[in-house]
């Protein structure tokens, strides 16, 4: 056997897992005498009878969270093989098999359609249902040289781009290109960015700021993290482009405090750029200067509002302020400030760099792509870049691979905590249609849920988060959000012994929804307060029957709402031991006759403790 050179790459989004995984892999490979690890940046010296392995971290398929750890291996003569959910222990063996060109005992996921001989019986990437649904505008494509680009360090392409930007393009040209693209901000506001750009460009101030809002909030939203983690160079280029076009000298990247890795990556990247002379004073002798700071910020929903973020960066309470004045005239430290979402900046970067128009990716809406987090009860959860035109149905079924356990889908929710619910009738609409329909899209998290899920439970979950995130600047939202989450919790609560005349009170509270909605919506300062009740309204519009069942029949079809459950004692099975009576926290069980116990529906809070304690299985959920 003679020397053979293999390439091996991997992408693991969870940093913790990556660290453990990487360590284990390297130690396994270095234990084996056959293998020689080669960092792809160092030169190779010929060595007989060895397998030289070049490793490429952060490369390959990215965002397929369900399939991670994702590993690819390239034999020089064969097509690239991809493996999913791979443990590091298997890798030495896989390498042996690949080198021996015998992979019958392996279960690779897919092979690429790149150069080299095809492996028999292994599906080709182009055959995957998601292949043409995931579009590579911001992200790397699945083939060619793109495959092994590590976007976490500045390479020659990046440097060339920045140099040519400064030397060959005028700021007016950049602006024109962006205006022509008709790009819409990718944060929750849906304004063309042209408006903001023109506004800040008109300002005469010496000092202007660009703030990159990388402070995404959301229990399941990873879209920004995905871009920050895998494509930091693109973000950096976007910042440089924007600052160059608008004569901004200071940029601040406000990073969620949990994304420490991103913080470090950007710090490194910025010092690399400084060393290369691409940042600092008088860049490339063009007289332009730019400094970029990275700041860690606590993740809060309210910082999606630009004025709140600005206050946070000034170390004040993150309270939004009235607009006007807009930050573009009076922002950070009183200077004109442009606030952009991470994805917006990525788009700006790619529009200028690739010279492509957004229409290519979305001929109907002309709005290019959107990075979405696909989550919920879905098989292929992950972060994917999709066209704004693609229907939600395709996203869920082609990319997402349908629901877990082949459950039937009941509906979906888009936009993170401040988003909206939709039913199946909206499945054939695209992201862009929904954005127009609601005028709002938030973080573009697509959350799917099945028939098993109770809509009220989901609503409750969201309302609790919203209540915790109301910034408390304005009184109607501060108090209204608490009432709102109380109201939602009553939907799934039939009895509450702490409150006198609860059934009447419950109904009154729930029916006061309109009043609450009007008050909070009309008098709140920012979009958070204004959208408090929108989630409920969207859910009510599409799942009216189910919600009304909760309200009036005190019935939950999926038996998820504990407070609406009813237990019943099987008279035949009950031996009258009396254990349940002791256990019931609200004294809902009484002795009807000697040795026969019954549960009073009007008192039972559905906790289920009695069911657990009964030794004779006499207590059951009433269905």
């Amino acid at each position: 056997m003679s020397t053979i050179k293999l390439q091996l790459g991997y992408a693991i989004t969870s940093l913790e897992l990556q660290n453990i995984w990487e360590k284990e892999l390297l130690s396994l490979l270095s234990q084996d005498k056959h293998f020689i690890l080669k960092n792809h940046s160092t030169d190779l010296s010929p060595n007989d009878d060895a397998i030289i392995i070049e490793t490429f971290p952060n490369t390959g398929l990215k965002g397929f969270l369900y399939a991670e750890p994702l590993v690819w291996i390239k034999h020089p003569l064969k097509r690239t093989l991809c493996f999913r959910n791979l443990e590091p222990e298997l890798i030495p063996w896989i390498i042996e098999c690949v080198v021996n060109l015998d992979i019958t005992s392996l279960k690779p996921w897919i092979q690429l359609d790149d150069y080299g001989e095809s492996w028999p019986h292994i599906p080709i990437i182009t055959q995957m249902p998601w292949y043409d649904k995931i579009v590579p505008f911001l992200t790397n494509s699945f083939s060619g040289d793109d495959w092994i680009i590590d976007n976490t360090i500045l390479d020659n392409t990046n440097i060339d781009f920045i140099v040519s930007l400064y030397n060959k393009k005028s700021s007016v040209e950049v602006k024109d290109l962006i205006f022509k693209s008709k790009l819409i901000g990718r944060g929750s506001g849906t304004l063309p960015i042209e408006i903001k750009w023109q506004a800040i460009d008109e300002q005469l101030a010496e000092k202007k700021y660009l703030i990159i809002n990388a402070n995404e909030f959301g229990p399941s939203s990873l879209s920004n993290y995905f871009l920050l983690r895998y494509y930091p160079t693109m973000i950096l280029e976007g910042i440089i482009t924007t600052c160059y076009a608008l004569h901004i000298n200071n940029a601040i990247i406000a990073i969620h405090q949990d994304y420490l890795d991103v913080y470090e990556a950007f710090s490194k990247l910025i010092s690399q750029a400084k060393d290369l002379g691409l940042l600092g004073d008088d860049i490339l002798n063009t007289g332009n200067s730019l400094s970029i700071d990275v700041m860690l910020t606590p993740g809060m929903l309210i910082t999606g509002e630009e004025t709140a973020l600005i206050h946070l960066l000034e170390s004040q309470m993150p309270f939004p302020t009235n607009k006007p004045p807009y930050p573009t005239s009076l922002g950070l430290w009183g200077q004109p400030t442009l606030v952009h979402n991470v994805e917006t900046i990525a788009n700006i970067s790619q529009i200028i760099k690739t010279d492509k128009s957004l229409e290519i990716y979305a001929p109907i809406s002309k709005q290019g792509t959107k990075v979405v987090t696909l989550c919920g009860e879905i098989n292929n959860y992950g972060v994917y870049e999709i066209s704004m035109d693609i229907s939600i149905d395709e996203v869920i079924n082609k990319i997402g691979g349908g629901l877990n356990n082949s459950n039937k889908i009941k509906g979906f929710h888009i936009g993170g905590v401040t988003g909206r619910f939709f039913d199946l009738d909206n499945l054939d609409k695209s992201l862009y249609d929904l954005e127009k329909q609601t005028n709002y899209l938030g973080t573009s998290t697509i959350f799917t849920f099945s028939e098993e899920q109770c809509i009220v439970k989901l609503l409750q979950h969201i309302s609790e988060i919203l209540t915790e995130q109301s910034c408390g600047k304005c009184i109607p939202c501060l108090y209204g959000s608490r009432v709102w989450s109380e109201l939602i919790s009553y939907l799934s609560l039939a009895n509450n012994p702490q409150i006198p005349h609860f059934p009447l009170y419950r109904l009154k509270t729930i029916l006061s929804f309109n009043k609450l909605d009007r008050t909070v919506t009309e008098s709140s300062l920012c979009a958070l307060g204004k959208s408090l009740s929108q989630t409920f309204i969207s859910a009510y519009n599409f799942f009216k029957d189910e919600i009304e069942e909760h309200i009036f029949d005190k019935y939950c079809r999926s038996y998820q709402c504990v407070g609406l459950r009813n237990y019943i004692i099987d008279e035949d099975a009950c031996t009258g031991c009396g254990l349940c009576i002791v256990e019931c926290p609200v004294n809902a069980i009484i002795e009807k006759r000697i040795n026969l116990f019954v549960i009073l529906d009007g008192k039972c809070v559905g906790c289920g403790l009695c069911e657990k304690v009964c030794k004779f299985s006499a207590i059951n959920l009433k269905k």
């Binding site: 408390g472 009184i475 608490r482 006061s512 009309e522």
Partner: protein, 527 residues
């Protein structure tokens, strides 16, 4: 420049750039507001001051609008009334409603608005909020955060008016609250006890402790020390159209109530300034007169190097107490909680029996003892002012005492003033530095009066070094002493609370032109 606005189809002219809420309030419209402070940037937290303006789709908070163009405003449309009522209901749903034992009940804006807007049922009354401990650590200001409605006034006023940063917003969501410096009790913060926050807090979340609620006072052998601001305030409480000489009328009132021994703190302040001026004549550097305890505390904390310039004489309050007979109890009527704190710190361990009351506590005392406001009001007009009874209204504004002093110096020395109008510059009623320079026996003197902490900071940062023989008087509260200074501390009304600078009664007081006699005798007695 004036601009036309139409309010509910009535036409008015208001100043260009004026705050709309302020304008509406001074035009007499009763717009509910819980978070607005005159002269400070709006908090826009309560959203009660919403009005409808032609050209805007949605109602808009009046406190955030500056009148720069002619506007068509509607203040009480059914829609607005409805929103206001609902907001009040929302606030009350999570408010600890113990109105009957609440220290602010009688002038609580929240309670009054709720009554006015007919909130008689609170649907959402069971939203659970945890109740937190009261902070009663400080001798004068108490905090009961359970009543806080997060209006942000205390934060604004303490930071911007007093430069003291005691209060801050903290946390978000269900934990949102107001904390005093890093969540320490107030007595461990650097609070000056000016009392501005407790005065302006719309609820009883911050309130001033009362010390005479459980005390019965025997007027016959009690010495009453009163500050003129409080007296003026008291008289306008009793009779809102009060136009008489307040001090004189108060003297008669006291006779009726049975108080025999009275000491006017205002006169002592005038005297103190006079004596400080005598000291100045022998000195080579300026003297800062120790009048307002908060400004002196502020100077001590922020400019320790200036301590030696502070007048060595006793403060007027100390002088007043020295004038009393130790065996008799003393009742001090003042609205300044810094004075209250001072007395508490200095005399709580001595054999003096001192009770401090603000006007509200004093009124409570009167009502408790069977007097009625009507009775007291009818009493005053019957009093004929004696021709040559003299009084001082010093202590209301630093300016007035300074004005008195200046007049006295001019009388004593017969200096000719070039521009007679200049002497009145002390009485502009604005929060700014005022200065008068004159020459006496080949020396140049200046009298300087400074109002508000920001002006004090401004002065000591930039101008103090250029000053030599000057007598400097500082007062820290904006628009005159707290709850005094022409501010009617209304006991049964809540509106127009913050409109001091427009109070016609205040203007009137400036015009009183009577002879000034300083009770130097008293002062000399004790020195």
């Amino acid at each position: 420049m004036k601009i036309n606005i139409t309010v509910n189809n009535q036409k008015y002219k208001v100043d260009l750039g004026e705050n709309l809420l302020n304008a509406l309030l001074s035009l007499g419209y009763d717009i509910p507001h819980l978070c607005y402070l005159e002269n400070y940037s709006p908090n826009y937290a309560c959203r009660l001051c919403m009005v409808e303006i032609d050209g805007f789709n949605n109602p808009i908070q009046a406190c955030t609008v500056d009148v720069n163009t002619p506007l068509q405003v509607y203040t009480h449309t059914p829609k607005l009334i409805n929103i206001r009522k609902n907001i009040l209901e929302l606030i009350l749903s999570q408010h600890s409603l113990e109105c009957n034992t609440c220290p602010k009940a009688i002038n609580c804006s929240l309670l009054n608005y709720a009554y006015q807007y007919g909130v008689n049922e609170i649907i959402w009354r069971h939203v659970i909020t945890d109740s937190k401990e009261k902070d009663i650590s400080s001798p004068v200001i108490a905090k009961n955060i359970n009543k806080c409605i997060s209006c942000g006034i205390c934060v604004k006023i303490c930071n911007e008016m007093m430069h003291c940063n005691v209060f801050n917003h903290a946390f978000i969501g269900t934990k949102k609250t107001i904390i005093s410096s890093l969540d320490k009790p107030i007595n461990l913060s650097n609070c000056y006890y000016c009392g501005q926050c407790s005065y302006h807090c719309p609820t009883s979340a911050l309130y001033e402790k009362s010390y005479i609620d459980n005390v019965e006072i025997d007027p016959q052998n009690t010495t009453l020390i009163f500050d003129s601001a409080a007296v003026y305030n008291l008289m306008s409480q009793i009779n809102s159209n009060f136009t008489k000489n307040p001090i004189l009328s108060f003297n008669y009132l006291c006779q009726f109530l049975g108080f025999k021994k009275l000491i006017n703190l205002g006169e002592l302040i005038d005297a103190k300034l006079y004596l400080d001026f005598q000291l100045l004549k022998d000195r080579k550097h300026p003297i800062i007169s120790n009048l307002c305890p908060v400004s002196i505390e502020y100077i001590k904390q922020k400019y320790p190097e200036l301590i030696e310039f502070i007048s060595p004489l006793a403060s007027p309050m100390q002088a007043a107490i020295r004038l009393t007979n130790k065996s008799n109890p003393i009742l001090i009527l003042t609205n300044c909680s810094a004075y209250k704190n001072d007395i508490f710190q200095n005399y709580s361990n001595t054999e003096h029996k001192i009770y401090v009351a603000n006007v509200r506590d004093f009124l409570k005392y009167l009502l408790r003892n069977g007097y009625t406001l009507e009775q007291l009001k009818n009493l005053i007009p019957n009093i004929k002012a004696k021709k040559n009874y003299s009084y001082s209204i010093g202590g209301l504004y630093a300016d007035i005492s300074m004005y008195n002093l200046l007049k006295l110096i001019l009388d004593e020395t017969n200096i000719q003033i070039d521009k007679p109008s200049k002497i009145n510059s002390f009485l502009t009623g604005k929060n700014e530095n005022k200065k008068y320079n004159f020459r006496l026996k080949n020396k140049n003197y200046s009298l300087i009066s400074i109002n508000t902490i920001s002006e004090i900071a401004n002065f000591f940062d930039h101008e103090f070094l250029k000053t030599n023989l000057a007598l400097i008087g500082c007062w820290s509260c904006a628009n005159g002493c707290i709850n005094g200074g022409g501010k009617t501390f209304e006991i049964f009304k809540t509106t127009n609370k913050s409109l001091s600078s427009r109070n016609p009664l205040l203007t009137q007081i400036y015009n009183i032109n009577e002879d000034l006699i300083i009770q130097e005798k008293l002062w000399k007695q004790e020195n």
